[in-house]
Symmetry: C2
Subunit: 388 residues, 2 copies
């Protein structure tokens, strides 16, 4: 166990729950939505997502790490290794740098679209982002430390401290060694994002980046790596982040990202409903698609409420296997109300579902995106131009 049930904490830290059938979003869920943020969908236009537009999910608080604290930061590598390491950010920056472009997505993306709704961070669809992450390959650090026989996992501890369902803890997750120690999996101990030092909310000064896995694996504010001979049983591994159908179901672990395509909603929005408005004629529709399991090989677009689908043109960079692909199509709009949809399929044959895959934690809901659009008649006037 990585943590202890602390008497007294139960009064402020409740078990997980699922919202009632007609229960609106609660103030507690809203407070999480106000702290954590998604990618505004028009920001899918950027190949790499700037901080502030890239999604962020912080379990507890962003740790206070000023310049002096960053200089004194230590990453320890221990447990079942021959040569325990103590590394500081400067020592890591002095090593040969590796940069990977990686799309990260929160495992809870889509949770608030489930019925009934699991009560947690209420993502709709926007918990994603892509960045160039620079750092040192984890496989190299583990090789340097010398993993001993019998080791099965590496456990990663961040500095983010809090309580969750009664359990006080530092945020902590593990990876199997066949992921952590395999150079081909691309796992990084990163110190830079898009060429700049990590922003505070993205893990300054050091974080893990695990390509292809949901974001919970990419431990931020990383301070310890411990190699173990038994699978990790801590809260974030065996209580949270499981695909469960009920509270007593042990469930399956949440790991690799399911395929998803998102479109930039075309035209312009209504402020409050976010419904889109276009004028008649050809409307370019573009977006991104990704999957943690295998490359996206197909993106289909529908403008008729999912009666028919047409293939979009997909462009992927083979040198960036962990980054989203771009896709584009053209929709010829005529006056009326439409529901657009988009669906990705990966090379492993997995396609996005048209009904949401429910589970009690609200993980991995890759239901297709649907965008309501009104196409105005040609005679609808635009805005008058002058402020005079």
């Amino acid at each position: 166990m990585d943590a202890t049930q602390t008497p007294g904490l139960g009064s402020v830290s409740a078990p997980g729950r699922v919202a009632g059938a007609d229960e609106g979003i609660s103030t507690a869920e809203l407070a999480l939505a106000a702290r954590n943020h998604g990618l505004p969908l028009e920001a899918l236009r950027y190949d790499t997502t700037p901080p502030g537009l890239h999604y962020v999910l912080v379990h507890y608080d962003i740790p206070a790490v000023d310049q002096a604290a960053a200089a004194h930061w230590r990453l320890t590598v221990g447990g079942l290794v021959r040569r325990p390491l103590v590394l500081d950010p400067a020592a890591l920056r002095a090593r040969p740098a590796v940069t990977h472009r990686v799309t990260l997505e929160c495992a809870g993306n889509g949770r608030a679209r489930l019925q009934p709704r699991p009560v947690s961070q209420p993502w709709l669809l926007e918990a994603v982002g892509t960045a160039d992450w620079t750092g040192v390959p984890l496989a190299g650090l583990l090789a340097e430390a010398g993993v001993r026989e019998g080791a099965v996992e590496a456990v990663f501890t961040g500095a983010d401290h809090g309580v969750e369902r009664g359990v006080e803890q530092d945020y902590r997750r593990s990876l199997p060694l066949d992921v952590a120690a395999d150079p081909a999996r691309g796992v990084l101990v990163a110190y830079a994002m898009n060429g700049a030092p990590l922003p505070p909310q993205h893990g300054h000064p050091l974080r893990l980046v695990v390509p292809g896995w949901y974001g919970m694996a990419s431990v931020k504010w990383l301070r310890d790596i411990t190699v173990t001979d038994t699978p990790f049983t801590g809260f974030q591994q065996t209580v949270a982040y499981r695909y469960r159908q009920g509270p007593d179901d042990p469930g399956e672990p949440v790991d690799v990202v399911a395929p998803r395509a998102l479109m930039i909603p075309p035209g312009f929005p209504d402020f409050m409903s976010r419904t889109r408005v276009v004028r008649p004629g050809p409307v370019p529709v573009t977006g991104r698609a990704w999957s943690g399991r295998a490359p996206v090989v197909r993106v289909e677009f529908s403008a008729d409420g999912e009666q028919t689908w047409t293939d979009a043109e997909v462009t992927a960079d083979p040198d960036r296997p962990w980054a989203w692909a771009a896709w584009r199509t053209t929709w010829t709009a005529s006056p009326g109300a439409y529901r657009l949809a988009v669906r990705a399929t990966d090379a492993a044959g997995r396609a996005q579902p048209l009904t949401a895959p429910w589970n009690r934690g609200g993980f991995g809901n890759n239901l297709v995106q649907r965008v309501e659009v009104l196409c105005l008649t040609p005679e609808d006037p635009g805005p008058a131009g002058s402020p005079g």
Copy 2:
């Protein structure tokens, strides 16, 4: 009028409304909360707020302005002026640069704490941030253009395009000339934030920054300034951003920021409730306070449910009159449950209220912040340390 009621748009763009007594946060409100983001309260620790932690509110979509579009961006200054100007970002950067540290707050901050709740972007308390904004004084540009006799306002047009309550529009707001053209008011046409080019969501390549006013005045993606001889009657001036008691009340304009203090919630949080947990002993409590009308002269802290208040130590930088002040106090915690509160008073004698000032748009709700805290008993164990 700056815009026209467009037939057809009514089907996707509803009038403003107030939520029913027991109505939870709607999916539409949640979608706004997922796009726009607040300052995680622990980020009050930074003197200047990095992008991604600074609040952002975008009415419609972040305009697409890539490097080429930024180079071709033009800011026009016209209307009642002797010498109309056409400026590009490079021409502005070539002028002497001025940097002001400014605290910006959204006028809707606190809206979701109102009962009944106006339906719009559902801020709780976190719609604030402070940055060093660099640019060119607006007063100098207006002087160069030569404001003609009879002029009363300057109208600012951004590139953000959408529809709101049936009105299709570019986002547009005005300032009285006694604010816009007075060098002492510090209004800037800014091109940099914290020493870097404006991020897309903060107005790249050019924006207005109006110290002391709520954020709606600081028009982002600025492309036109028109000097007029009549007060502007556009949507964002006369329909939105009014303090109204009912739908037919013309109301008063929303302008200058009301005083507010916020604390960094002490200790560590529960993930879901965000309730704080501390251990017995002295607990430093720090935060920020600001007011658009006059400097904050007093910050009071209460740990007993607002029965008694003690003065915190307030530190303001007289050279940065538009930036928040820092405050600090120490609370000696003993086991039990507490409600902490903090209250600012400015030199104009305005203090934060203990009951929320309701209006139909949910503007200017500077109700005191309240933070629930559990202090554990000394025997409560902490987390076990080892991941083994």
